[in-house]
């Protein structure tokens, strides 16, 4: 695992531990009660899309990873200001122009979406909450497990197929600055280190000629700035919308997020 990935996972772990350790320690009895009687539970339905430049073969080449996913999540406020969110979803990802040169017959992926599942978790802690500003620290981890997909290797003298299975992981760690001066509209800016990495396993079968290539991929951008807002429609229903920009050496990647949240206070 790369150093930066270790750093990010460590940061996520530290953040999680900090959240719990720095919170005002309730009495043991109260703590037990809190765990089973969370302050609030907020299920949500989200749609997200991102297009990120990924490097592969030691960053010699780049492609676009485009992914859209629909998620169901539940955010639980365990203690005042500490939130944990679990995510489950369905994804569709494209790895356009990813090339597998270690297979016996080299192949290139077309722009083709591969279905998969999303599992994710997020920990967030409120750091500051003044009259008009709220600052949260957060760490998030998303894991996308692709479903195997088969393609044909065209124009050969015999039938040939390849079967691919991608996975990717995304781990942002950062701060969210929210303006709380309005009653129902809460614009925010989210600054985070945002790492994306994964692999794509491809198996080739052309009669008795077989081969396998595992290709490691990593996002070219490491920093993300997101601009968004939460709009509180009613006391229990709110909507969240966000646009993200991830600059890298030769350009800027982007993503969008739309989400409906129901609060069960």
């Amino acid at each position: 695992m790369k150093k930066v990935e270790i750093f990010l996972l460590s940061a996520l772990l530290v953040l999680t531990l900090t959240c719990f350790s720095s919170a005002q320690e309730p009495e043991p009895q109260e703590q037990e009660q809190k765990l089973f009687n969370a302050v609030s539970i907020s299920p949500g339905l989200g749609f997200e899309y991102f297009s990120r430049t990924i490097g592969w073969d030691d960053d010699e080449y780049t492609s676009k990873l485009k992914s859209l996913f629909l998620t169901l999540d539940a955010e639980v406020e365990l203690q005042r200001g500490i939130y944990v969110r679990a995510v489950l979803g369905f994804s569709s990802s494209s790895y356009e122009a990813l090339v597998f040169r270690e297979l016996p017959v080299s192949v290139q992926l077309p722009e083709d979406y591969i279905k998969g599942f999303i599992l994710g978790a997020e920990v967030r802690k409120k750091l500051i909450h003044s009259e008009s500003l709220r600052v949260d620290a957060f760490g998030q981890f998303y894991y996308c497990y692709g479903i195997k997909k088969e393609w044909e290797v065209p124009d050969l003298t015999v039938e040939g197929t390849v079967e691919g299975r991608p996975t990717w992981m995304r781990a942002p760690v950062g701060l969210i600055f929210t303006y709380t001066g309005y009653e129902t509209f809460f614009p925010y800016i989210n600054l985070n280190f945002n790492k994306l990495w994964g692999k794509f396993n491809m198996d080739e079968i052309i009669q008795d000629l077989t081969g396998r290539e595992e290709k490691k991929i990593s996002g070219e951008s490491s920093f993300c700035i997101s601009l968004g807002f939460t709009f509180k429609l009613t006391e229990s229903i709110s909507f969240k919308s966000e646009a993200s920009f991830m600059p890298y050496k030769e350009g800027t990647d982007f993503g969008i997020l739309v989400k409906a949240i129901y609060s069960l206070d």
Partner: protein, 457 residues
């Protein structure tokens, strides 16, 4: 024959060494060669831009009337106005050069910039070797090629797609093609820097496998002549090295015992590919054992099918060896019918052992300098499955260069499965005449864009 200028020198190779029918043009000099070198006219004239046109952009503050007046004052006409960037594409007067017009325009304070209308061409690898245009096997533009005295015609793109394959790789200089033949010309300007080592001479049992026949140099040139060096021809495997091992004497004969010595020496000296442009009808267990040893050591052995229109010869017919048949410049299998007008009509052998085919009719390659007398140049046209074989050996070397982990069988399969089934109209799928088809370097080397599964298959 078109007079005394064009003399054929036919390289006659006896029975054992496949006949490589070679025609050498006595006036094979640069002057005559340019007559058929149409594709070189562009580069030879040295023009990098259109000779009577310029592109001009006026400053935004200049009015339409002022622009028109300026263009008229230079006696130029507007061919078009490029929208979006507002650039004028001008035709300039015949008696004014582009350089002069650009100088005049640059003096005009109303002009933001002026520049030539540069030529652009597709970014495809085309080596600068002088005679590449006559190597139809590598790139066949169709039409006439060959010595002016006996023009051959070809079909557009009836070739091994070498230019496209070179987009992916030129090969590695650590990959060695052993040419087990009549030796090689160590002084040939298109080969001298491509030899891995001096090799060995098993005919005279000494370390000097100098070619005293010509066949080995011809074969080596096709596989890996010095390429993009501004002279001569291009080889299939630009960067791969040649290991010359002399196992055939100056009359074109060899025997299995000497051949086995050569195969074993090639294995011991690090050969990745062995080219055997030779063969005969007799099956030999010891010969097969030697080839199997090479195969088991990861060495790809490629051999010629033979030129007599009979069953595939050995060693090509052994399963551990790639058997190569011959096609011509129209992607037809070479037969007695389509070589009827040749000095020595011939036909590519056939049988279930044939793996693939490659161009083998009127192929341009090197000829030993020691066997060339002025005004000849040390190049020749030659025919036979002997010439098809090094095309496949060169491709095997290129695959090994970029996929060193593949076994010999894997490389053989890649070459088979990526071939062009050029006789599919009559024989769909693998057949006994050209096997899986004529090799295709592009498909074997360049990543293939995969497609959705066909539900009807």
């Amino acid at each position: 024959m078109k007079g005394k200028k064009f003399i054929f020198a036919v390289v006659l190779v006896p029975f054992f060494l496949f006949s490589c029918q070679s025609s050498r043009d006595s006036s094979f000099n640069q002057k005559n060669f340019i007559l058929v070198n149409v594709a070189n006219t562009y580069s030879s004239r040295g023009m990098q831009y259109v000779s009577d046109q310029v592109l001009v952009k006026f400053k935004p503050s200049v009015t339409e009337e002022m622009r028109e007046a300026a263009i008229a004052s230079y006696q130029s006409t507007t061919l078009k106005r490029i929208s979006g960037i507002d650039v004028y594409h001008l035709q300039i007067p015949e008696d004014v050069s582009v350089e002069e017009m650009l100088y005049l325009l640059e003096q005009n304070p109303d002009v933001e910039y002026a520049e030539p209308n540069y030529f652009r061409r597709i970014a495809q690898v085309t080596p600068n070797d002088q005679y590449f245009v006559d190597q139809y096997a590598l790139y066949n533009p169709g039409g006439v090629f060959g010595p002016p005295s006996s023009p051959q015609s070809g079909t557009n793109r009836a070739d091994i797609k070498a230019r496209e394959g070179w987009e992916e790789t030129w090969g590695s200089d650590s990959v060695i093609i052993a040419i087990l033949d009549t030796g090689a010309d160590f002084n040939h300007p298109d080969l001298d820097d491509k030899l891995f080592s001096n090799g060995y001479d098993f005919i005279n049992d000494d370390p000097d496998p100098t070619d005293d026949h010509g066949h080995g140099t011809i074969v080596a040139g096709i596989a890996a002549a010095e390429t993009n060096n501004g002279e001569g021809i291009a080889g299939v495997a630009w960067n791969c090295k040649i290991l010359p091992i002399k196992i055939v004497d100056n009359t074109g004969w060899s025997d299995v015992s000497t051949e086995i010595d050569g195969i074993n020496w090639a294995i011991l000296n690090g050969a990745d590919v062995i080219n055997l442009s030779l063969g005969g009808p007799g099956v030999s267990q010891s010969e097969q054992d030697a080839i199997r040893a090479a195969y088991n050591n990861g060495v790809v052995v490629v051999a010629a099918a033979g030129n007599d229109g009979v069953a595939t010869y050995y060693p090509a017919a052994y399963p551990e060896c790639m058997a190569v048949a011959a096609t011509n410049s129209s992607d037809e299998r070479v037969t007695f019918l389509n070589t009827a007008t040749d000095p020595l009509p011939w036909e590519s052998n056939y049988g279930s052992e044939i793996d693939v085919a490659a161009p083998g009719d009127w192929v341009l390659s090197l000829y030993p300098t020691s066997l060339t007398t002025p005004p000849f140049l040390p190049y020749t046209w030659a025919s036979g499955t002997s010439l098809s074989t090094p095309h496949v050996a060169g491709l095997a070397a290129l695959i090994r260069s970029i996929k060193p982990e593949l076994s010999a069988e894997d490389i053989m399969d890649v070459i088979r499965y990526t071939a062009d089934d050029v006789n599919s109209t009559n024989y769909a799928g693998r057949d006994d005449f050209i096997g899986y088809g004529r090799i295709n370097m592009e498909r074997a080397l360049v990543p293939i864009i995969i497609s959705a599964l066909n539900p009807h298959k």
